[in-house]
Amino acid sequence: MHAVKRIEVLADSVELTKILAGLDKAGIIAHTVIRNVVGRSPGADATQLDNVYIIAFCMPEQVKPVIENIRPVLNKFGGACYISDAMEIRSVRCIASL
């Protein structure tokens, strides 16, 4: 059991590939994507029908490079990113983010 960071990205589905590439480049391979999420934001006038919700738990030191990779995408296409704390219970099977 050790401390990790939860990165959550909410964005239009057209950005998905770009955001996952941003995670990848920062060394974060593990992620989970929830599609067909419906959202609203003051930025977009209408209800966006096809958003994605991306969750990735990673090492605290990976947060900074990820943000650097993702921010330009969000700046160009919109979307939001949130960081919070969590504790990881990793199975022995994988070596993800150890």
Binding site: D12, V14, A44, D45, A46
Partner: protein, 323 residues
């Protein structure tokens, strides 16, 4: 104008279900067709018209009429975004003008299909190769719209998009890909292929279209509340430009000598605007433009206008000219 034409359009099940969908939104019924069911219907419709069109394309061969029709289609797909762009620039900024222009230069497959059903009901023939015209008209407007941005962007750093991504979006987006693929397969698989597919691609076609238009009614009506933000300029644009584009299309059709059925389909292609493929491409390549504007104009105004008034109106005009 012949009232019976409007009546027989408006009283056809697909158009009535389109109204029903709109009504559901207005009276706040909780009727909805959840995703991915509308996606299923639209994949099906593209598959079915592509397959049928390809099958008939082979039979008709590449006569002069066919070639002229397809050339006219590509021409209109390139010219419409140019002159609409300059009209739109009167009131809108570069990015929105280009995105809306691209939307109106491209086409709406469902409007085309509804016009086809209308012709079938009236017993007017049309050629299978019109589906090829449909396919050819989807993509060019995307390219033209982005070229206009490149030309008119003052700050050259703005509007920076990769052309490989643009071409990808224009020619390999799922609508174009499935339609062209089905067209080619329909052409290749011949009479034997047609026979086994027929109960699926033809038999239930009209019913699926009806269901899909119910959903389109729900979606279009849901967009109507955004019209306030759109402004009267864009509202007028989305009603008047289809008529203008259809008129040009009709004159071109007359010049080429298309039969009446084909002329209607051609004018409908010119008049219709894309609310799926082009908006998706624009979000990727012109994120500076506001999707609310281009989707709402095409979906909440031009689409219903064409479905309800446009199709019989253009046929009326054609009947007058062809006499």
């Amino acid at each position: 104008m012949d009232v019976s034409l409007i009546a027989s359009n408006v009283l056809s099940p697909p158009v009535l279900f389109f109204f029903l969908g709109m009504l559901a939104v207005f009276v706040k019924s909780d009727l909805e067709i959840p995703q991915p069911l509308p996606k299923l219907f639209s994949l099906y419709l593209l598959f079915a018209i592509g397959f049928k069109g390809g099958n008939e394309l082979v039979k008709s061969g590449a006569s002069q009429e066919v070639i002229l029709t397809l050339l006219a289609a590509v021409m209109m797909a390139c010219i419409v975004p140019i002159y609409t762009f300059f009209i739109l620039k009167i009131k809108l900024d570069l990015y929105n003008a280009a995105a809306i222009a691209a939307t109106y230069g491209s086409i709406s497959a469902v409007t085309f299909i509804t016009a086809g059903s209308f012709l079938t009901e009236l017993g007017i023939d049309f050629s299978g190769y019109m589906v090829a015209a449909l396919a050819l008209m989807e993509s060019p407007a995307i390219i033209v719209g982005l070229l206009l941005v490149k030309l008119f962007a003052i700050d050259k750093q703005d509007g920076d998009f990769s052309w490989s991504e643009v071409l990808q979006e224009a020619f390999l987006n799922s609508s174009v890909f499935l339609l062209v693929g089905s067209l080619i397969i329909g052409a290749v698989s011949g009479e034997k292929g047609w026979k086994v597919e027929e109960p699926f691609t033809q038999g239930i076609f009209y019913g699926v279209l009806t269901f899909f238009l119910l959903d389109m009614g729900l979606v279009a009506a849901g967009r109507i509340k955004d019209l306030g933000k759109t402004g009267t300029f864009l509202i007028s644009f989305s009603i008047l430009i289809p008529i203008v584009n259809a008129a040009i299309g009709i004159l071109l059709a007359k010049a080429i000598g298309m039969p009446q059925g084909n002329a209607l389909l051609f004018s409908v292609l010119c008049a219709s605007a894309s609310y799926i493929a082009v908006p998706a491409a624009m979000r990727m390549t012109l994120p500076e433009a506001n999707p609310s504007l281009y989707v709402t104009a095409a979906l909440a105004l031009t689409f219903p206008f064409n479905i309800i008034v446009g199709i019989p109106l253009y046929l009326y005009g054609i009947n007058l000219l062809w006499g």
